[in-house]
């Protein structure tokens, strides 16, 4: 399985004014729409072919997927498990955008992997809850899409959790990953007994942003 994970375009939650939003499940800014359109155009120019398209169910990823969809010509499959941390309850229920936490724990995943990420909502998920739901999603993809080219539209945290899972990192991690909006990273799962199961091909590719003058 060749797995390409795309971060959503710039959204209103990525702006410094995010705390003024009433609903934190916000859509793309104009820049975010342009970034997604640039990736759409780059897919067409490079004759990109995908077998499966999966999207997070937050507004910024749904909007990014809607812009990319005509290039990949697949019906997107929504999956709550690849929403950003901490927009899902530990039991797997997606939260409503008006009920997202706004007060973040001061220590990040490297220091407090088991601590709820937000202190102002009941039962917010921790980094390890988050890694677990992303891991369940990855296991299901590996089982379902053998030999296929899978495109996933998700979030910076999801890409970071995928790194932690494929590199088999312990809870108190010492590395983070950075992604540009609409950048893509590519992993391959190979079920061969003589090599590592996972292969990291590329991280944070932004050719389309360069071509469109959006970097």
């Amino acid at each position: 399985m060749l797995l390409t994970v795309i971060r959503h375009g710039q959204s209103f939650t990525n702006l410094k004014t995010w705390h003024t939003l009433k609903n934190l499940d916000a859509g793309l800014t104009e820049t975010g729409q342009q970034q997604a359109q640039a990736l759409h155009d780059w897919f067409i120019a490079n004759e990109t072919v995908a077998d499966v398209l999966i999207t997070s169910t937050l507004k910024r990823t749904l909007e990014t997927t809607a812009i990319l969809q005509p290039a990949l010509k697949l019906e997107p499959i929504p999956d709550h498990r690849i929403r950003e941390i901490p927009t899902v309850s530990p039991s797997g229920q997606p939260l409503d955008g008006e009920n997202f936490g706004r007060e973040y724990a001061s220590d990040w995943a490297n220091k407090a992997p088991f601590v709820p990420r937000c202190s102002d909502i009941e039962g917010a998920e921790s980094w390890m809850h988050f890694r677990t739901r992303v891991g369940q999603f990855m296991d299901d993809m590996v089982a379902a899409y053998h030999g296929q080219r899978v495109y996933v539209v998700a979030h910076g945290g999801v890409i970071s959790a995928i790194f932690d899972n494929i590199f088999n990192v312990g809870p108190y991690r010492r590395a983070d990953v950075h992604n540009y909006n609409t950048s893509w990273s590519r992993f391959e799962y190979r079920n061969k007994h003589d090599r590592e199961q996972w292969l990291l091909w590329e991280h944070n590719r932004t050719d389309h942003l360069r071509d469109a003058g959006l970097l």
Binding site: F163, I166, N168, A175, H178, W198, E202, H203
Partner: protein, 215 residues
């Protein structure tokens, strides 16, 4: 510290069988030279500045580093510790050119991280020996180059070992990385922020090869 690590250009050991090569410390092919020149030109076009340039003492890396030297205007500091796996003695020093291994253990690091890699030399290093010398090199870099921009020209195995160290992966790993010839990856060492010690910014960027059709 911002660490940019470049894999050498294509060399004779990367093309077909090496069984008949006179030396395992091979030089760049003509294509490898073009790849390195493309990266040099790409760096110059972006007016890239840096504070230090290191290179492995293997010929293919050192030759590639010469092109990077032309772009950055920095002297090349050579270091035996970033030679490709199997090509250094256990004390970290380079093996003589005539003693470089040609027969390799088919069990990869995921299964045999402590096994000798070269089967035709005595007391050759294992993947974990290799990771150790790369780790020593990285520790020294982080100490000597705080807040500086460092370029390193080395090998695909070196980049993979850096990922293992940055992500704090255990010996029996389940992921490896692929790097194209002259592909570059970037890590940021950020000891002071309360966040993770390392951040992965890019892996296997090849914009310069795409521009010049040298993939």
């Amino acid at each position: 510290m911002r660490l940019t690590i470049i894999r050498h250009g294509q060399s004779d050991v990367n093309v077909g069988s090496w069984k008949h090569l006179e030396t395992m410390d091979s030089a760049l092919t003509e294509k490898g030279q073009l790849q390195a020149a493309a990266l040099r030109d790409w760096l110059i076009a972006r007016d890239e500045q840096a504070d230090a340039l290191y290179a492995s003492t293997m010929r293919r890396a050192h030759e590639t580093a010469h092109y990077i030297h032309e772009a950055l205007g920095l002297d090349i500091q050579v270091d035996d510790r970033i030679r490709e796996i199997g090509n250094s003695a256990l004390d970290g020093r380079a093996l003589p050119e005539t003693d470089l291994p040609r027969v390799f253990n088919m069990n990869k690091p995921d299964k045999a991280p402590f096994a000798h890699r070269g089967l035709d030399i005595d007391n050759g290093e294992s993947w974990m020996h290799f990771r150790t010398r790369i780790g020593q090199f990285m520790d020294d870099l982080a100490r000597q180059h705080q807040r500086q921009r460092v370029y390193v020209v080395a090998h695909g195995g070196v980049i993979s070992a850096m990922f293992d160290n940055v992500f704090n992966v255990g010996p029996y790993r389940q992921a490896r990385t692929h790097s194209h010839n002259t592909g570059w990856s970037r890590f940021v060492h950020q000891r002071t922020s309360g966040r993770e010690t390392w951040q992965v910014r890019f892996h296997n960027r090849i914009d310069h090869l795409i521009e010049k059709d040298l993939l």
